[in-house]
Amino acid sequence: MRNILTIASRELRSSFVTPLAYVVMAGFLLLAGFFFFTLLQQFNAVLLQAAMMPDLKPSLNEWVITPFYQTLEIVLIFLLPVMTMRSLAEEKSSGTYELLATSPISTVELVFGKFLGISTVVAIMLALSFVFPGSLIVVADPEAAPILVGFLGLLLFAWAFTALGVAVSSFTRSQAVAGIVGLVLFLLFFVIDAPAAKAGEKIAEVLRYAAPSAQCDLFMKGVINSSALIYFLSLMALGLFVSVRVLEAQRWR
């Protein structure tokens, strides 16, 4: 445990002394703010229309919060590869991996430490963006549960992709390769349910289950869904497992 924390805290400190984390965070918040503003504008227009029909009451959750989280998922798909591409590729290309690999820490501890460090940065980034939906709780009266649980879903979504990004980074020494392969795989995985409409019943069911955004949507209803929770935890486990195995296999080559 001590070794995991040593690696994680180094990762965390390094993230905040180099500009990369700040740039990604600033970009994320800028985009989040822009989309939030646009959604509120749309909601305003809807409210005006609804004023003419007394029995129609548009909900803030349905019109602003859920689409806001769904948009953030896409933003994350593009930005997370930038946060994870360095993780193991840079260690290998700069030679520091040789230090880590000849220190009395296991590959599991190394990978967990890396993941813990980066996912903390990701959590900080997401927590900052919570100011937008959070402000609605203060100034309006939306349902609080979908906002909070939906945010948890988004966090799990981000962490799952962080673990997968670390796994991609374990394959290569090149950060650029890790970043691009990560982005392509993330995008592909994100739209994996696209062919479901035309596929056979069984396959469609599997594809719909595999789609991360569909799992995330379950949280937006405001209840912690255990099957979605297991889905995201399994993705994290998969990413970490692959990273460990790849690093170990590389030694034997």
């Binding site: 001590r2 070794n3 390094s14 030679g95 230090l99 009395p104």
Partner: protein, 249 residues
């Protein structure tokens, strides 16, 4: 302190280290000498457990590199060819990080780091970022991380390559200070380095041991240059003869 038995390493079809055996007593400073591409770095990577051997094994500080790699890692300090520094970290931060990794207890952490920094004359630059340091200082930080946990065995891969003469002398002085307390293995392709700082010599050529022994014994009759050239030349002839045999058979 270090004992290798038939240590072999293949990269695909290439035999980088071809079954070498040697023994290094405690407290010795051993120069691992050889032409470029002879297998020095591979041998070092095997001893430091960075790479697993294809066959054969070795014990370092009494632990088997195959069966107890975690124990071996606790007892070695290793400076790879390029010092494994994190450019964005401060020197003292970095050495503390490595000390933690190597398992130095929380209570003795501050003391161990301070001692390593003092020994490598780094106290003046302790608050500088690693990326701001000159090559000579980087090498010294690399040495500081290798000795911070007081390992029994210190392994240095070409510690003086790319340094100016004054810096080379500084690093050599540091190495000679380590003599006695630690067993030191240093690889180099500079002959004078061996006669300056080492007590024993191990010449590797073409993945095999071409010559070994204490410097005093070996240089009693011949100069180091002659010995080295003869050993490497013999090794080359031997390899050529074997190749011929293979071609004929």
């Amino acid at each position: 302190m270090i004992k290798a038995q038939d240590l072999c390493k293949h990269y695909g079809d290439v035999e980088a280290v071809k079954g070498i055996s040697f023994e290094i007593p405690e407290g010795a400073v051993v120069g691992l000498l050889g032409p470029n591409g002879a297998g020095k770095t591979t041998t070092i990577r095997l001893l430091t457990t960075f790479l697993p051997p294809t066959s054969g094994t070795a014990t370092v500080a009494g632990y088997d590199i195959k069966k107890q790699p975690a124990e071996v890692r606790k007892h070695i300090g290793y400076l790879p060819e390029t010092p494994p520094l994190y450019p964005e970290m401060r020197v003292d931060e970095y050495v503390t990080f490595v000390a933690k990794l190597k398992g130095v207890g929380r209570g003795s952490l501050g003391h161990a780091v301070e001692k390593a920094l003092t020994r490598c004359s780094l106290t003046d630059v302790a608050h500088k970022l690693c990326s701001q340091l000159s090559k000579g200082y980087r090498q010294r930080v690399g040495l500081a991380q290798a000795i911070v946990h007081e390992p029994k065995v210190i392994i240095l891969d070409e510690p003086t390559s790319g340094l100016d003469p004054a810096q080379i002398i500084e690093i050599r002085q540091l190495i000679s200070e380590l003599k006695g307390e630690h067993t030191v293995v240093l690889s180099t392709h500079i002959l004078s380095e061996v006669s300056e700082s080492c007590s024993e010599l191990l010449v590797i050529a073409d993945g095999s041991i071409a010559l070994s022994g204490t410097i005093a014994e070996l240089t009693a009759e011949q100069s180091l240059e002659q010995l080295f050239l003869q050993a490497v030349f013999k090794r080359k002839q031997h390899a050529a003869a074997q190749e011929q045999k293979l071609a004929q058979g």
